[in-house]
């Protein structure tokens, strides 16, 4: 039996006021089950990032409800939402993913330091995740000296190191070539299958979509198709 980890009920999101109003999402309802690998696809401006931000507790809907593990996000305080993002969610953004003043390993440790892990535990977890993602060789390199692909992998390592329940990836392949994109997709699929982490990615790249088990198509802020890729 599958358990819904995330549920959106009649979610709408409107930006601006009066004449400058922009409706980014309209009456979206869907559920994500634990362990799914979901892609949210559609053309630019269709609301992919907006829906990802709602799910990731980075934004609040104008109407409707988002539930994580049965708890309504709109009933949580700012501090509780911050804690939720830190403890339960992992994020990989399209660009500007790493803190430039830190090394690859320090960027990964960042989450563990926020979580309050002791130094030894931080080091062993960081080494393990960097090893698993094939980044041991670049662990001590400053973030600014890493290639685009390496930076995205370090960002994934950072998202994983806190053992989140959900991993959000917003256009993770936007700045990558096709080889790096393929490697990234393999990695996300491996994380999903081996670790059981639910992965939700917003993308307009068909290659990324082909790796996911479910695709949710958006157009003009509405779900037009929700299909299994299996």
């Amino acid at each position: 039996m599958t358990i819904d980890i995330l549920r959106l009920s009649n979610v709408s999101r409107v930006y601006g006021k009066d004449a400058t109003q922009v409706r980014a999402l309209t009456d979206v309802s869907l559920s994500i089950a634990e362990g799914e690998f979901v892609s949210i696809v559609g053309p630019s401006g269709c609301g992919k990032s907006t829906i990802l931000n709602m799910m990731g507790a980075l934004d609040q809907p104008t109407q409707g409800e988002v539930h994580f593990d049965g708890d309504s996000l709109s009933e949580m305080s700012r501090g509780e939402l911050t804690d939720l993002r830190l403890q339960k969610f992992g994020f990989v953004f399209q660009a500007f993913n790493l803190l430039p003043v830190l090394t690859a390993a320090e960027n990964v440790q960042f989450i563990l330091q926020l979580l309050g892990f002791a130094r030894r535990e931080r080091q062993s977890r960081t080494e393990a995740v960097l090893d698993a993602l094939g980044l041991a060789d670049v662990a001590d390199r400053p973030a600014t000296e890493l290639s685009g692909g390496q930076q995205q992998r370090v960002a994934i390592a950072r998202a994983l190191v806190g053992e989140p329940a959900l991993l959000f990836a917003d256009e993770p392949s936007a700045n990558l070539d096709s080889t790096s994109t393929r490697e990234l997709c393999e990695l996300l699929r491996q994380i999903n299958s081996d670790r059981g982490i639910t992965v939700i990615t917003a993308t307009h790249d068909p290659l990324v979509m082909s790796y996911t088990s479910r695709s949710i198509h958006l157009e003009d802020g509405r779900v037009v198709e929700d299909k299994s890729n299996l």
């Binding site: 934004d59 911050t82 969610f89 994020f91 330091q113 892990f117």
Partner: protein, 410 residues
Amino acid sequence: MKQGLFSQFTLIFQLGVRNLWRQRRRNTILLVSVICAITGVVVLNSLIRGMQAQMVDQVVYNLNGHITLHAPDYRSDPAITRGFIEDSEAFTRKLESVKLAGWASRIKIPAVVMSERETRGVQIVALDPAQEHISIVADLPVEGTFLASSEDNRIVLGRALLTQLRTKIGHRIVVVMQDIDSKSIEVGFQIAGVYDSDSEGMEKHVVFVGKHTLQQFLGSESITELSLRFNTRLIPPDGLEAISKAFPNLEVVDWKNIDPILAFMYESVNAMVYIWLAIVFTALVFGLMNTFITAVLERTQEIGLCKSMGMKSSLVLYQVVTESLIIMLLGLIGGLLLSWGVLQLLGDGIDLSAFAAGVEMLNLAPKIRPAVVWQDINIVIVATIFLALVASLYPAIRAVRLDPLVALKD
């Protein structure tokens, strides 16, 4: 929980140091300006405090003491008729509970001195040399000899007066004054020696004779002044009250009343020190604030990234404040070290003898020696930390208010 906080603060410190290093040219300029400001404040305050201390020392040291006691009407009419009887045993008994460096009884009356060529008005100071370890008399450089005792029947003049009278050591001069019956008397004294002083005014107007000798000429056993010196730079808090209670029939005058202009200047200096500190630090606060606002604006995306990943607002605030504290504490350490070096160089004092007339008017020694007042240093330390917090608070609040989503898209 403690481990968690330690881990978070390690992160904040690490990010703070790296962010400062990233903009090292800008932050070095800021650091140098903080060091210069703190050095300027500490060195100038030390010079001002040195001047302040010298003002007090000069007035206390120059035959006044911290406190002088007179008969009630002596100050309006300084004559031997306004004296009071010296009772050394009673004085000692009354003063034994007060922590004094010493006391001296004197007669100070106006007189006219005449040489074979010139005449001048002076103040006669009749004293017992044995009691004068508390005053400038003990350290005056003397050509010839100083008075040997209270019974010595010679006179000691200042060099400027000697020049004006066109006389010499060993010659006799005549002193005209009023005795206990208010009759003018003329007494001849042989010049025992000539003293040199930093104050030309003193050299011209103060002459020394033996106290006992003068009492015999005046026909009175009275003295006109009892001068007290404490073993501290300033009068202890309860010192004036204790002396007033011990000598209820005498007028008790402290150094501030003896020289009210100097007392006003002394108090003004206290205000000056704090006004100077406030001006420098206010100027610095705007520079700091501007730098940290720029730093926050430059790092909008980074701050957005941190917040989106779950960094609490309080930690974002601490991060900006920590960077400010690091700069200010480094500036404080550098500033104090540089101040120490500058004060070492100024250890011998700044020679103001080129402005001798002005220096004498202000009751200063011809060399200003810096004096470090630890209370001032503590104020600088506290003000620096306070400044670091104030200057970083607004930029930190701006950082806290950043919407992570908006910041990431910036």
